[in-house]
């Protein structure tokens, strides 16, 4: 329990009704508690008050003394003995509001019929409630060039803008990206960018959402729909582990837009541009629409479900099978894979990590992460936040926003174990440390945010697991990993963190599943599964759900050749191209389910698209059908049944898997033009879920190679000039960015245009490469 000081409560009278609210509450929000809606534009509960639009004027009296003129209710906190009269009871306030509305409209164009905002527009709505039916303005309206692109995905129509400054305040206060500002002055004041620097903030879409008029619109949604034609479904974002609540808007079976949903304890009211604007993959032409079987001619052909299921059962029968689960499986689907592996296939050879990974990490996850309870609220209260191989702005953007909020609010101390200060780290004013050993100042109120890339540094997770002071959180990039861990989709744990190696834990699971025994041998990891295929003594079949082999290693796809591959996929991919059987599965909008965000918090979502277009089901249902066909049923006919069954397990309270104790790797000593490679994925990159989103892609950060000034000098390049980074497998050529980074290192984006480290170098971290002027 926290020991927060009791909040002082204040009672005020608004329109004759008493309301009691915490001290500091603004009048406008105290009125909301009474159900009194004071019209407003610039007011936003998560932005500092501006008092700019003046739409929310009310009469205020304190201790019997009335303010001589109406006050902006969005700027004044309640006080004891305050009496407020809104438009409902004060003719002065009512006239003031009507007057402001009239002024707001004199320069507003009458293009509501063609405006995206029409139908969900606060200006339109409040003009109806507070405006006059006929304008008295007969003069000349202010005109601007109609929409201008302030980025490839955001358009600005200055004629529609009411200068509420929500967008500019968001960009500065919430995102730390003051790339848009109010420019010019007076009646010519307008939102704008510096001509050469577009509004390429990772969070720009929020400004479109909070714009109270149609001034900011998204290029991808513009002119596509009327709000009243859309069906909205609360949903959860599948892109990363931040856990954003979303709203998915669908028209006639097609997702047209996604908006940030409200969840005060997680994403507040924000999301990132990837979560907002990367969803074309859902309705891509590449979607697999029916089961496919590879014929004797080597070509895939459509097949009926019974035929395909029979082929799967036959193909897997008598084989030693591994299971690879993608990082964006829902909790329920991951549970389906976990149970399917143990019950139907009789193996622990299952892994959800389709990325660089280690045994040390598996031990860390099973021992330390399963029951972790660190939350966003702990960041809010932290005395020190340490980022370990974790770039929140790129890898979990809402975590970034939350840390930034505290940095702005109270100068929260932030340290980052990172090769150099990224843009995100600079905004957080983070102290850059080259290794975890250097972290100091940890108390029980400190929060250590451990990125998934920590697995790539041998010994690091062992060191973190040994930390006993601070709160720890493990933040994977993908939305499904924390849930898959809980579901037991890993070789060393069963559901709820039950160690495979623990007989009593196994009996627990055996009993729940109604089976006689469970495999006892620890499972293989993703890379071990791949390596053992076709070796004679290892595995000879694999079930793959939502995995891109290029995320694992450049060899992964080759390792999957000449073995029996069952692919559960939403779209055609490198795996479906070599699979023996392809079973279509539902995408997030087409099913219900849940993710666990990095906190372990359940993020449940509903099916957003229904009807005849939906031809398939969630993975778990399909796995259950295969299991039935193989006569080793897992009895999970629905997502709900999987959720129920997993929930019944709870978290294992017995002994856990032992913490890892891996040694650090010996230091590599690059010589000459050699450097040690380091990398991470930028938020907007070549990730498969972003395919087809050209507007989004154009706002991404361009690939650069980050090297030290000393290295730049020694190879004779200046900032912006091209360098070639290579090893025996391949090379990339990108512009150089000189920064404060160890002379031994070179940083590249992991999966961006012109810089894909895993497929190019066979590694993403720690390998030696050569850097020369291109």
């Amino acid at each position: 329990m926290t020991t927060d000081v009791a909040v002082e409560m204040i009672t005020v009278v608004i329109d004759g009704f008493e309301v009691t609210v915490p001290k500091g509450t603004l009048i406008i929000r105290a009125a909301e508690k009474l159900g009194i809606q004071i019209p407003r534009f610039c007011d936003h509960p998560l932005l500092a008050p501006a008092g700019a639009c003046r739409q929310c004027l009310v009469d205020v009296e304190i201790n019997g003394r009335a303010f001589p003129k109406p006050q902006a209710s969005c700027t004044i906190p309640v006080e004891p003995n305050m009496i407020v009269k809104t438009q409902l009871t004060s003719p002065v306030a009512e006239k003031a509001q009507k007057g402001i509305m009239e002024l707001l409209l004199i320069n507003h164009p009458l293009d509501c019929p063609v405006c995206d905002k029409g139908g969900e527009c606060p200006l339109q709505n409040q003009a109806m409630s507070t405006g006059r039916s006929e304008s008295r303005f007969t003069g000349v309206k202010r005109t601007f060039e109609k929409p201008i692109n302030i980025s490839s995905q955001v358009l600005l129509d200055r004629e529609r803008c009411v200068l509420c400054a929500r967008c500019t305040r968001f960009s500065e206060q919430i995102a730390g990206d003051p790339f848009i500002t109010l420019n010019e002055r007076g009646a010519l004041q307008q939102v704008g960018i510096y001509e050469k620097d577009p509004f390429d903030s990772y969070f720009s879409g929020n400004t479109v959402q909070i714009c109270p008029v149609g001034a900011l619109t998204g290029a991808s949604y513009r002119f596509r729909a009327r709000p009243f034609d859309l069906v909205s479904t609360p949903s959860a974002c599948e892109h990363c582990a931040s856990g954003c609540a979303l709203r998915t808007d669908v028209r006639r079976g097609k997702t047209l837009r996604r908006l940030a949903g409200d969840d005060a304890s997680v994403n507040e009211e924000w999301n990132c541009d990837k979560g907002r604007w990367a969803f074309k993959y859902l309705s891509s032409k590449e979607r697999v629409s029916s089961p496919l079987i590879r014929g004797d001619d080597g070509e895939l052909r459509e097949a009926s479900w019974p035929e395909a299921l029979a082929r799967v059962a036959a193909g897997l029968a008598g084989k030693k099978v591994g299971v690879l689960v993608g990082g964006r499986a829902t909790v329920e689907d991951a549970y389906g894979y976990a149970k399917f592996a143990r019950v139907t296939l009789g193996t622990n050879d299952i892994d959800f990590r389709s990325r660089p990974h280690t045994e040390e990490e598996a031990a860390f996850l099973a021992s330390t992460v399963v029951g972790l309870k660190t939350t966003y609220a702990d960041i809010d209260k932290a005395d020190h936040v340490v980022l370990v191989n974790f770039e929140p702005e790129d890898e979990s953007p809402i975590v970034f926003l939350r840390v930034y909020k505290q940095v702005r609010k109270r100068s929260l101390q932030v340290s980052t174990v990172a090769p150099f200060a990224s843009r995100g780290s600079m905004k957080l004013n983070a102290n850059v440390l080259s290794s975890f050993d250097q972290v100091s100042n940890l108390t029980e109120k400190s929060v250590v945010l451990v990125g998934e890339r920590s697995a790539e540094v041998p010994g690091l997770l062992s060191a973190i697991a040994a930390n006993t002071t601070a709160k720890i959180a493990w933040i994977p990039r993908r939305s499904g990993e924390r849930g898959a861990l809980l579901a037991g989709a890993l070789g060393n744990v069963l559901p709820g963190g039950r160690p495979v190696s623990d007989a009593s834990a196994r009996i627990d699971v055996q009993t729940a599943w109604g089976v006689d025994s469970l495999p006892t041998e620890l499972g293989r990891s993703t890379s071990q599964i791949l390596h053992s295929l076709n070796t004679g003594e290892g595995l000879d079949a694999v079930v793959v759900g939502g995995v891109d082999p290029a995320d694992i290693s450049p060899d992964a796809l080759g390792q999957l050749l000449n073995t029996f591959v069952v692919s559960l996929e939403i779209s055609h991919s490198a795996i479906t191209a070599i699979a023996d059987v392809v079973l279509p599965v539902a995408a997030v909008t087409e099913k219900t389910g849940s993710f666990l965000d990095w906190e372990g918090r359940e993020r449940r979502f509903d099916q957003a698209i229904e009807g005849p277009l939906i031809t398939t089901r969630s993975d778990v249902r399909i796995l259950s059908m295969i299991a039935d066909e193989m006569k080793k049923p897992i009895s999970l006919p629905s997502v709900a049944s999987a959720a129920r069954e997993l929930a019944s397990f709870g978290i294992w309270d017995g002994a856990t898997v032992a913490k890892p104790t891996a040694p650090a790797a010996p230091h590599k000593n690059p010589t000459g033009n050699e450097a040690i490679l380091t990398s991470w994925r930028q938020l907007i990159d070549l990730g498969s879920l972003q395919s087809g989103e050209d507007n989004l892609a154009a706002t991404g950060r361009k690939a650069v190679a980050v090297i030290s000034a000393k290295r730049a000098e020694s190879i004779g390049v200046a900032n912006g000039e091209l360098v070639k980074v290579s090893n025996e497998r391949g090379s990339v050529v990108v512009p150089v960015h000189v920064a404060q980074i160890s002379d031994e290192l070179v940083w590249l984006p992991r999966n961006s245009e012109n810089s894909q480290t895993i497929v190019t170098f066979g590694a993403a971290e720690g390998c030696l490469v050569t850097v020369v002027k291109a």
Binding site: A52, R54, L103, N107, G139, L163, A187, L188
Partner: protein, 433 residues
Amino acid sequence: MSKLSPVLSAHWDEADSFTLEAYRRNGGYQASKKALDMDPDAVIQLVKDSGLRGRGGAGFPTGMKWGFIPQNDGKDHYLVVNADESEPGTCKDMPLLMANPHSLIEGIIIGSYAIRANYAFIYLRGEVVHVFRRVQQAIEDAYAAGLLGKNINGKGFDLELVLHAGAGAYICGEETALLDSLEGFRGQPRLRPPFPAIAGLYARPTVVNNVESIASVPAIIANGTEWFQAMGTEKSKGFTLYSLSGHVKNPGQFEAPLGITLREILEMAGGMREGHELKFWTPGGSSTPMFTQEHLDVPLDYEGVGAAGSMLGTKALQIFDETTCVVRAVLRWTEFYKHESCGKCTPCREGTWWLVQALKELEAGRGTSDDLDKLLDIVDNIAGRSFCALADGAASPIVSSMKYFRGEYQRHLDLGSCPFDPIESTLFAGVKA
């Protein structure tokens, strides 16, 4: 005995009055020496006791403003001088700074010492290069003479003084806009509270004072509160600069005790220009409601002008004779407010846009009597509804001119055009080719 009382302007007729040498020759920098020997609180008390009120327009007691600064709070304090003089008709601080910059610097030393500020700024409007030169030179000379910098007069008091040029924005005369501007932002007013005394420049306790207010302090310290209180009226103590401009024989600066009347000043100045009579005038700049002939005997102090329905403001007495079209004058002022509106709030930004268009129509004689009522109703939706006082200032000339000259507006509408010949009101009327 003269009705005038030159103090700040007492030596402006000396060719080198702006130099440190001249200032010292005339007794300068004795007051700061004296003040630095006093307890800072005693300096504040003395200024409070004197009754000095802000000369920038609002008339807030200067000593009280200083007293609001929390002491011993461990924070940096700042004194910021508002030298952004831009209110139409106002032209007192610029000649003061050009002819007597050291009076301001000495006042800054005293004020900073009193409020425990070690850093002070002069925010000077940017459109007056020669004034900038004079003030900058005066600051450099004061540093060289050990009057600024470390350990002033060997009293252990440190003070850095920076001259900062504005760049053309009337709104920066509003103190919180000035502070934002000085911090390197757009000069838009801030929400209050917090007030500058608590969170001003860089969110630290800050006093913002007008040039004339601060420049008046050395004389008060040197001569004492009784001397100061002997001038002026009951609640408006001391001397001040009245700036007479427009259709008068002899425009200029008149330093006099508060409470003098326009009739008295006009008499001294030789009256209206030959053959013309007073039509309307502003007591303290365009933002103060206009007066007419009937107000010639209003005492020009804070209370007197207020009681007559206007404000003392900056004591900018702009005089217009009967050749002047009041609608044209008001339109031009309204265009000024539109040009200078910062854009932050709706009523000012959109309202001034509308008012200019409405007044242009009226000046051209287009419209009906209903449009005059509409004009007043638009003003009613602007005044008292905006973020700062700029829009209230915009409303003043319209409301007051409609009060005294509605008939003249109506005459435009009846005629379908402006009844005045603008050439008649120029200084070179009759001499044009």
